[in-house]
């Protein structure tokens, strides 16, 4: 397990990452969500040891992480680009060798992975001859090749077409299933919601929410949709709730005082027929907006 403890990093007067703590558990996909400048990349670079830590620490298997540990992690930096003029297979083998793999093993593993992404026949091409999406696949292969003990991927889905997103998602799930902790950042909330077992939401350098998706949703505002036979405008006069929206016979209300929804329902039945009264599960995007505001 990868534990991030009170990680802090300042650039001049700006505190980019401010006491960030969360866990990346074994065998689980952890999504790292936040807007631009929230501190995701800075945090990941500190986890990988690319950037020095001002305060706090990164722990691996219960002790402070070492360069040797980080060497066994797979990492995909934010901005993509391997060597544009080198052949795909050659640079994959080179990078794997730097990780300590034997050349022949690396070559076999690289071809296997390229095959999987349908890139086997491009192995001898210069990287720059590949489309951007394919270059990104090669980059992912580079991060996975040496059978990493943990995966840290900065925006692995950005720029991928839907098919590539699916095969990338499969790949990450598969890696996680072998017991490897996987941390990846994204700003595509729907994707993260679908894919992740756990989420960490970062805003202005701080963790504003962390947990599994259901847990997070339950922390969101409790809302009910009310559909009546006639105009629902009267809900505006009730206390203990916040009216999010009224549209003719339908109203969306948010509960402020506990049990206020029962009061709404009693009022509604007293006034006529109630067609529908349902709790509305907030989308993660709503929670994100809420906590990151």
């Amino acid at each position: 397990m990868l534990e991030i403890r009170e990680l802090t990093r300042r650039f001049g007067d700006v505190t980019a990452v401010d006491g960030v703590s969360f866990d990346v558990r074994d065998g689980i996909l952890t999504g790292f969500v936040g807007g631009n400048g929230a501190g995701k990349t800075t945090t990941m670079r500190m986890v990988m040891g690319v950037l020095a830590v001002d305060a706090g620490e990164v722990r691996w298997q219960g002790r402070t992480v070492t360069a040797a540990d980080q060497r066994r992690f797979g990492y995909m930096p934010e901005e993509r680009g391997l060597y544009p003029k080198q052949r795909v297979l050659d640079q994959l083998v080179y990078l794997a060798q730097l990780k300590g793999m034997a050349a022949e093993t690396a070559r076999r593993a690289a071809l296997e992975h390229l095959e999987r992404f349908g890139l086997a026949e491009r192995a001898g091409d210069q990287l720059q001859k590949l489309s951007l999406g394919n270059q990104q696949r090669v980059q992912v292969v580079a991060a996975l090749l040496h059978d990493p003990a943990a995966l840290v991927l900065d925006e692995p889905f950005s720029g991928l077409d839907p098919t590539a997103v699916d095969s990338m998602a499969d790949l990450l799930r598969e890696r996680a299933a072998t017991g490897v902790p996987v941390l990846f950042s994204s700003h595509q909330l729907d994707l993260v919601e679908k894919l992740c077992d756990r989420l960490v939401i970062l805003s202005r350098g701080r963790v504003v929410a962390a947990g599994d998706a259901d847990e997070l949703r339950s922390r969101g505002p409790v809302r009910y949709r009310l559909t009546l036979d006639r105009d629902a405008g009267w809900v505006r006069d009730l206390g203990g709730i916040h009216v999010v929206d009224v549209d003719g016979r339908t109203a969306l209300v948010e509960v402020i005082d506990d049990g206020a929804e029962q009061h709404v329902l009693r009022e509604a039945t007293a006034r006529g027929t109630v067609r529908d009264f349902t709790p509305v599960r907030p989308a993660l995007a709503d929670i994100y907006r809420e906590v990151a505001a």
Binding site: A67, A68, R71, F73, P77, L98, G100, A143
Partner: protein, 414 residues
């Protein structure tokens, strides 16, 4: 070589991966050899590099070939002479090859001056030799024939001298007795000094070109890795020191191989020319030059790597490398122009010593122990520079916020 001073088993920058209990069986210690090998392989498969090298080799062999051909050929001049100048013209034809083996003279007898002038104008003869009062005139069309003129002056002078001597009842030898001046150098000898100058220039130039071209290549490859962030992947795989050492070693090997190739082809070419007797004299000093070249190049290469790391985009390398370009230029011009005490002093001062000490050795103005001392200083300086450069390189390599100054790089936290 400085590279051997960075032992393979030295731990990385802030961690010692190979001492960690659960480190993989990989060879972090030899990671720099992987980096060096990649640098070499990439360069050797780079078409523009290969074309550039072949082109330079063609230039060298072409120049050698031209010199050989130029030295071996003989130009035959046709000289018109009227009856009264025949004797002198024949004497000229007879003696010319002895004075300049590149000049042969044929005599064309002519009726009179106007016929001679006509032949010169039409280009049928190269020159017209005629008596003019006390002296002689060599008339050519629109350009002077330098070699012919020199030979003619010599022959006419000797001939006149011989005639005057006869008139005076004496001989030329007696007239010239005691008038010879020979030269003598207190240090070295004349031929060696000429040779030293030529060879020193050639090597100063090669050093300049090699440090500049390979330096820029190195700086660019550093910033390329930085710009594409692949350096972040590499830095999480191996210590940054290993990356730096690998890049320096790889590029140094390439530069040295290219130098040896050029120098070898040059020497082989020289042995085919009439100057072949010089080859033996030059080959020894070439070894000294190579030794100093390696030491000087390694130190400068480390600085070029820093210049690359200070930039954040390829376009910025030019400005971050400016001080270095100036230094390399200074070394080149220093090698060409300094003399006397300054030369002696600079021959100990790195990086000037890289070119000046072997030059002095070639001139015969330096003792072997001076060379050893200068080499020691150069190696020490290279080691210090590599160490300082490593800090600058390491600290600026992973900074992504634009161009860095040397001071920022030095004091920036990692």
């Amino acid at each position: 070589m400085t590279t051997t001073r960075l032992p393979q088993d030295r731990p990385g920058l802030d961690a010692s991966p190979q001492t960690s209990p659960d480190a993989p069986p990989g060879r972090v210690g030899s990671a720099w050899t992987l980096v060096a090998r990649r640098e070499v392989v990439v360069k050797l498969t780079d078409r523009s590099f290969l074309i550039g090298t072949v082109f330079t080799l063609l230039l060298i062999t072409g120049f050698m070939g031209y010199s050989a051909w130029d030295a071996a050929r003989t130009t035959t001049y046709t000289v018109a002479a009227t009856a009264d100048a025949r004797t002198m013209a024949d004497r000229l034809a007879e003696k010319a090859p002895g004075i300049d083996d590149g000049v042969a003279v044929e005599v064309r007898p002519v009726e009179d001056a106007s016929a001679a002038r006509g032949l010169v104008t039409s280009g049928d003869v190269d020159a017209w030799l005629a008596r003019d009062g006390d002296g002689w005139v060599l008339t050519t069309d629109s350009e002077q024939k330098t070699a012919l003129t020199r030979v003619t002056q010599d022959v006419v002078r000797q001939e006149s001298l011989r005639q005057r001597a006869e008139e005076l009842g004496t001989t030329v030898d007696r007239l010239e007795a005691g008038s010879t001046v020979t030269t003598r150098l207190l240090t070295g000898d004349a031929q060696k000094a000429d040779l030293a100058q030529g060879v020193a220039f050639a090597f100063a130039f090669l050093f300049y070109v090699a440090t500049l071209t390979f330096g820029i290549t190195l700086a660019n490859s550093v910033v390329e890795e930085k710009q594409s962030r692949i350096v972040e992947i590499i830095a999480t795989s191996i210590p940054v020191r290993q990356l730096l050492v690998g890049k320096i070693v790889g590029n140094s090997l390439l530069a040295i191989a290219q130098m040896v190739l050029y120098a070898g082809v040059g020497l082989a070419g020289l042995s085919l020319t009439p100057y072949s007797s010089l080859v033996a004299g030059v080959s020894g000093p070439v070894v000294w030059f190579l030794v100093f070249f390696v030491a000087g190049f390694v130190g400068l290469a480390a600085l070029w790597a820093v210049a690359g790391a200070l930039a954040s985009r390829t376009e910025e390398v030019q400005s971050t490398a400016t001080p270095l370009t100036m230094l390399v230029l200074a070394v080149f011009f220093g090698a060409l122009f300094v003399d006397g005490t300054v030369k002696v002093a600079l021959s100990y001062l790195p990086p000037f010593s890289a070119v000046l000490m072997p030059t002095r050795l070639l001139e015969g103005t330096a003792q072997w122990w001076e060379a050893v001392l200068a080499l020691g200083l150069l190696l020490a300086a290279a080691a210090v520079v590599v160490t300082l450069a490593e800090r600058l390189y390491r600290r600026s390599l992973l900074q992504t916020g634009g161009r860095l100054s040397m001071r920022q790089a030095w004091s920036t936290p990692e």
